[in-house]
Assembly symmetry: C3
């Protein structure tokens, strides 16, 4: 789907906040219903998910300690009647090795977040056959 | 080079499509000649490339199974007379370990893609001395 | 903070340049005071940092050889009276394994960079209690 461009937000999340909840709450308070998100920083004890296709559910990986937030990318759309952020992250350990997946939670040490709002028809997540909650696919 | 901003596309690629071909075809059908691309999702049996400077060619790494698409970043420009997507990806295995490189191919389980079109003078890839097909470099 | 959108730059950095200095110099010469940055390409002998919370300083990891630049994400804001790029990178070795963290330096083999300028009130980095130089945090 095609969208026009809305507001642009660039900000630092306060230390100690849980990052995923913060982004969701930021979107809700600012009424960002559709958009993209990116960030860099550093997270404490992040939990990431790997979606197991056969099992039809997430396997959660608990990382302990503080990790560099090397990349965060994702989007905001509607799930139910609220904005919902779907976010993937890459995380670096003290040796520079990277881990990553679907962001489940992570405590902010530092997070510099960029959110760009998109405007247009509602983009909604719905339960799909593969047990994930996704937008309808776009055929070309 | 400096560009103005064109259209914004945020969409889900249908399950089973090959992601790189899909992005290229999407750009061609929508006449996106210059732009940037990002995405998250999950890919089956992705193949990634590492460009070996000395050999002057890509080494292809075949990953087996389903991987989280932790980041996808890249751009669209002209190669010959068609839009061409140059894309790098980070991919997570069930333990959360990341692999990545130049996207050669990958079957979509889930892919949520954001493409932003840029408008301006043609940005073209040409064969360079280092055996890669690149834009002319920009000196500052 | 909320910003409006400025100029869009998409370009290739000449081979042999040091990437972080180049981005900083590009921002300064083009008077980009606030913005976001992303890139893909390939870097030689990159150095990346892991910020050790307890020690209050970066541990520098020296990678040898040529690595795929799988993702680069970050932002530009003011530090002192100059634009300053804060950049994190993910880097792939010949086996496709990823390493990454805070970009300290890296020699460009290939770098295709996208910078989007943001316009608004000055966004400034200041020394914070945690010994990092950050923007004031945004409470919601």
């Amino acid at each position: 789907m095609r969208f026009s461009r809305g507001r642009n937000f660039l900000f630092r999340v306060p230390e100690g906040e849980e990052l995923l909840s913060y982004i969701n709450e930021f979107a809700e308070r600012n009424n960002v219903l559709i958009g993209t998100a990116s960030a860099i920083g550093s997270l404490r004890n992040p939990k990431i998910g790997y979606f197991n296709e056969n099992a039809g559910k997430y396997r959660v990986i608990n990382l302990e300690g503080t990790y560099e937030l090397v990349s965060l990318s994702g989007n905001i759309s509607l799930k139910g009647d609220k904005p919902f952020a779907h976010i993937h992250v890459a995380l670096g350990d003290p040796e520079g090795r990277l881990y990553g997946g679907h962001l489940v939670e992570g405590e902010v040490f530092v997070a510099e977040v960029f959110i760009q709002e998109l405007l247009g028809e509602p983009l909604e997540r719905k339960k799909q056959d593969n047990r994930l909650v996704l937008w309808d696919a776009e055929k070309i």
